[in-house]
């Protein structure tokens, strides 16, 4: 698969304007660019877990989707698309359908890491020919910035508020991409908005066109929940990658591949300082928390490098 | 034969009492009867006492309750005589059939004064002699067919041959053993 940025940009738009996501939303940036992975002429059915994306892109009677779209509930996007893909196989088998369809489902981290985890795990284990895309903004943004198991340590959320006895979320975030990779499915990748989207575009196309189950974990910043200056989204994503907080990697048929290694790994402060949800870490008395955060980033990065070097 | 025959089976999970009840329903169905065969379900596993039922009639059967006043009781495992009130509700003009190595005289004191007819069969002996393994349900099925006069022996054997041939199509030795067990059981029950 040769990659050409301008060709990718010249493809027809598959997410129409007029949806009601926030100005500067990272979620729809993720969606638009994942859908660029579809080949022209191929049809798709898009699934979607309940969340910001769903309530904003299909507010009756306005759908922003140019493809067939199904929202079912919060916790079952994996199972719902399993059924749609099953229907495709059945109709093909019975000679009732000629067209080629691809199956892509989107969920936020709430619908993916947490309440939809079982449904996702089941769909992946059954190896349905579909891509599950998590646009990970690290909290339940739709309901007002509550913590999820994707929320990074020490983040200030409405259910892990910073207080006199609390420094934000006490726990680490779940490493979902690794968990899904442990399902031994054909393709797992993690990416975000860097390198002019080359990494994301290539991984999306691979995920969509790899037969069997595929999972994409995309860091998609939320200006409201992360409390940063909206136009800075690309810079934040870059810092996520350059600090090794959000590494770019793939797991292809069980083989771990590191896609990018910063020439000079930046300190985690550079990523945290841009975001209001970590503001409390920059008080003098909380410096040790940043050290803790850095230790965890380092530990995970080392483990990833080790996995990818095998 | 009376219009409605009601049979209650007592066995232990894993001995095939439920299967025997379903087989009895099956074979009676083949002779044009209306049948019911159903187990009483619980969470029990291997070894626990279980109950199964049969209704066999010339008329359609509509009742969906368990059987409380059976005409016949089949006890697939004699150790149940102590554990379960096997003669509960059993009609005086009915009969109880027990799988035992003991004699009728030895068994009678364990039947709580039951006044009806008592039949015994050593299903262990029959099973080991014919199949080389202990499957009490096959001999017990033949025995109850005879005791309750469900059908002619010939018809019964013919139907069972057909049923086994269908069920164990690729295993002629299994069919042979089972058929031998049925035939021997018809002789052995007393």
């Amino acid at each position: 698969m040769s990659y050409n940025f301008k060709e990718t940009m010249n493809k027809p738009e598959r997410l129409a304007p007029g949806h009601r996501m926030c100005a500067g939303c990272g979620g729809t940036i993720a969606v638009r660019n994942v859908l660029r992975g579809l080949h022209e002429g191929d049809k798709a059915v898009i699934g979607n877990a309940t969340g910001c994306l769903e309530v904003s892109t299909f507010t009756y009677p306005y759908t922003a989707w140019e493809d067939s779209y199904i929202h079912n509930a919060f916790e079952n996007a994996g199972a719902t698309l399993s059924g749609v893909e099953g229907a495709y196989k059945a109709l093909k088998k019975k000679g009732k359908l000629d067209a080629t369809y691809k199956f892509i489902t989107f969920g936020g981290d709430g619908g993916t890491y947490d309440i939809g985890f079982q449904s996702l795990s089941g769909a992946m284990e059954r190896n349905h020919d579909m891509v599950y895309v998590c646009y990970d903004n690290g909290a339940y943004m739709n309901t007002g910035i509550q913590r999820s198991s994707a929320t990074p340590m020490y983040a200030d959320t409405t259910t892990t508020p910073v207080g006199t006895k609390s420094s934000g979320k006490p726990q680490n975030r779940k490493d979902l991409a690794a968990i899904i990779a442990s399902h031994d499915i054909p393709y797992v990748a993690q990416t975000t908005f860097v390198q002019n989207f080359k990494d994301l575009h290539i991984k999306s196309e691979k995920a969509i066109y790899t037969p069997g189950a595929a999972f994409l974990n995309i860091m998609a910043p939320c200006p409201r929940g992360w409390r940063y200056n909206t136009p800075d989204i690309m810079e934040i994503c870059k810092l996520g990658v350059e600090t090794c907080y959000w590494p770019l990697f793939e797991v292809v048929n069980g083989r771990w591949i590191l896609n990018y290694e910063p020439k000079k790994k930046l300190p985690i402060e550079d990523f945290l300082v841009k975001q209001g949800r970590f503001k409390h870490l920059f008080r003098k008395e909380n410096e040790y928390l940043i050290e803790e955060f850095q230790k965890e980033v380092d530990r995970r990065w080392d483990e990833l490098v080790w996995k990818c070097s095998r | 034969m009376r219009n409605l025959t009601e049979i209650r089976w007592h066995g232990r999970g894993g001995q095939g009492a439920k299967t025997a009840a379903l087989l009895l329903a099956d074979v009676a169905f083949q002779t044009g009867k209306y049948v019911q065969g159903f187990p009483e379900y619980g969470p029990e596993r291997m070894g626990a006492p279980i109950t199964a039922y049969n209704r066999i009639s010339n008329q359609p059967i509509r009742v969906h309750s368990n059987i409380y006043d059976p005409q016949y009781v089949v006890v697939v495992d004699e150790s149940l005589l102590e554990a379960v009130d096997v003669t509960a509700g059993l009609k005086k003009d009915g009969a109880i059939l027990i799988n035992t190595r003991r004699t009728k005289e030895e068994i009678l004191p364990h039947l709580k004064g039951y006044e009806g007819e008592v039949y015994i069969i050593d299903a262990h002996k029959v099973s080991m002699a014919t199949m080389g393994k202990y499957f009490p349900n096959t001999p017990m099925l033949a025995a109850i067919v005879k005791v309750a006069g469900i059908m002619e022996e010939e018809t019964f054997l013919r139907e069972m041959q057909a049923s086994f041939s269908h069920k164990f199509a690729g295993k002629p030795e299994v069919i042979e053993g089972n058929m031998a067990a049925l035939k021997m059981a018809l002789q052995e029950v007393r």
Partner: protein, 393 residues
């Protein structure tokens, strides 16, 4: 040509499904419905159907996948019992509000807790207001026949609503009984091809399903959904008529037994109705004017027709195989009594809770109910209207 057979209720439903050859069947095991997907998986494994059988990881997912498949344009279904139905609760509402034709083979079992695997109707009764059509069976024959008729009702263009085909756990699901099967070709001809109007996999027109609805639309959306329910009775009867022509077996919204001149009647659902018929025969032999209304279609509820059927009775006992915790009875009791009230009935009505968690119902129990009704009619007073059958005090 009809074929005589003897099958368990689960086997009968599985055979109906094999004959229908649906497109997608996601399933998760739960006692006592487990055998249905088991039998079906064997049919799929042996190429007797070309269904996509999807063994999912939970009931929530089985219903979710069935919804996805139905929206995609496939004929789909699942099977479950008890807690499995409870686990798919949210999805029941979604299937109905999306107006998706879809079948659920429900084998009724008590809901936890305490955990219990035996029959009562607490599972489906709880789902009675979810927007599903509910059809119940007395015996294996009816479970089979109802399954064969299910898609014709569910997919009808005036209906397009999911349908629950219910039978009593263990009592019919695991009991072998005589019945008649239709030929495979007859069933396929009767059920016909599924031709949805809008569906996800329509290459000519994409579709979006499952919107967010702002308040401005929500109430109208619900009214629009209710419209589908209004056509169900007519369609059920039309389909039953065609089915009778094929099978010789007649079905209505409910069955009346001994109701022509009945003064005392029982209204009930499910397998205990057969037991009640035996009790009625015994009492009629003694000259008592007793009868039964056995409800086949519980949702939508044929209120006017039932009130009409009960118009001549002096006393009626409505039998609920589920608690309602209303302090005044169960769901069927509430429905029947409200139907009687609307019809300005003078009948004295009582509501019994019975048969919970597999508690057996004997012919004698039903004779006891009629005896109680006789007393009520003589006294001209219903007395306590919220009663339990055979409860130990």
């Amino acid at each position: 040509m009809a074929k005589r057979d003897r099958l368990s209720g689960n086997e009968a439903v599985a055979i109906a499904l094999r004959q229908i050859n649906p497109d997608v069947f996601p399933a998760f095991p739960i006692t006592p419905s487990t055998e249905i997907p088991q039998y079906f998986a064997a049919f799929a494994a042996n190429g007797q159907v070309d269904t996509e059988f999807i063994p999912v990881e939970s009931e929530h997912s089985s219903m979710s996948a069935a919804i996805g498949a139905s929206a995609a344009g496939a004929r789909s279904l699942t099977a479950t019992s008890s807690c499995g139905l409870a686990y798919m609760w949210e999805e029941l509402y979604i299937a109905a509000s999306n107006r998706l034709p879809l079948a659920l083979a429900l084998v009724n079992r008590a809901l936890s807790g305490p955990i219990n695997i035996n029959c009562d109707h607490s599972d489906s009764m709880g789902a009675r207001d979810s927007g599903w059509i509910q059809i119940y069976a007395e015996n294996n024959q009816e479970a089979y026949d109802n399954m064969v008729q299910a898609y014709r009702i569910s997919e009808h263009k005036d209906v397009r609503l999911p349908i629950m085909i219910c039978q009593d756990g263990f009592i019919t699901s695991h009991a072998v009984e005589n019945m008649e099967l239709l030929d495979d070709e007859e069933v396929r001809g009767f059920v016909g091809e599924y031709e949805p109007e809008n569906y996800l996999l329509n290459p000519d027109c994409p579709m979006a399903v499952g919107p967010y609805s702002i308040t401005d639309y929500y109430m109208e959306a619900k009214r629009n959904q209710a419209e589908g329910m209004k056509h169900v009775s007519r369609v059920v009867l039309e389909v039953a008529k065609e089915f009778a022509a094929l099978s010789g077996r007649e079905y209505g919204l409910f069955e009346e037994y001994g109701m022509e001149d009945a003064e005392l009647a029982v209204v009930m659902i499910g397998s205990a109705a057969g037991t009640t018929k035996d009790a009625i025969d015994r009492l009629r032999a003694k000259g008592e004017k007793v009868g039964l209304v056995k409800i086949r279609m519980y949702r939508p509820f044929p209120a006017e027709e039932i009130a009409e059927a009960l118009s001549g009775v002096k006393a009626v006992a409505v039998m609920d195989r589920a608690e309602g915790y209303t302090n005044h009875g169960g769901p069927l009791g509430a429905d029947v009594m409200s139907a009687l009230y609307r019809a300005r009935s003078q009948a004295l009505a009582v509501n019994y809770i019975y048969g919970l968690g597999g508690r057996d119902v004997r012919v004698e129990d039903m004779e006891h109910i009629f005896a109680a009704l006789r007393q009520i009619a003589e006294d001209g007073d219903a007395g306590e209207t919220y009663r339990y059958l055979g409860i130990r005090e």
